[in-house]
Symmetry: C2
Subunit: 107 residues, 2 copies
């Protein structure tokens, strides 16, 4: 099932490289989330880095409401970013793993 | 090196369970980041969920400055959260992996 050890090592190193390349590419994948009728907009990368936050002037009058909207928008965007991140890294990592039925470490 | 297949499968399933348990525990690990002399404070979990954002009234007068501070504080907190998350999940995942010298998929 694993063929020779050096072949397996080669595949694992290949997969490791793919994971690194994928991580770099995910920096360029942007996820936007706009809520509160467009009054709060956030942009994050698929590596979960916040790139932009845009707040409408009207929200500056209500601090608590602004804080709540920011949390909501950020968590929505970060959740989507996390899903993309995990899916893409799982694909990259799996490329080096033997395919053992029923055993999906990267589910 | 892998002993019998069923032993290995058992170890992998154990590791998968550890990963799930770790993910749940990381929801309770909170990371605070305070910047701008205490005017912006954010709290995130080690699963990168934003739990709290506290903005000082004084910052509501300068929208751009507020937006910049929020991005800075959030990225600092999310970076630390990501480091804790990856370290802890790597430990959990490694518990099921054969120890192949030089081959660290979860670096």
């Amino acid at each position: 099932m694993f063929g020779d050890i050096s072949g397996m090592m080669g595949k694992l190193q290949e997969a490791q490289q793919k994971v690194e390349e994928t991580k770099k590419r995910l920096d360029t994948v942007l996820i936007d989330e706009t809520i509160a009728g467009g009054n709060v907009k956030v942009t994050v990368t698929a590596n979960r880095e916040v790139k932009a936050i845009t707040i409408d002037e009207s929200l500056l009058e209500d601090k608590e409401e602004l804080e709540d909207y920011l949390i909501l928008a950020l968590n929505k965007a970060l959740k989507r970013a996390g899903e993309i991140n995990e899916q893409e890294l799982a694909i990259a990592a799996k490329s080096g793993m033997p395919n053992i039925p029923g055993m999906d470490m990267f589910k």
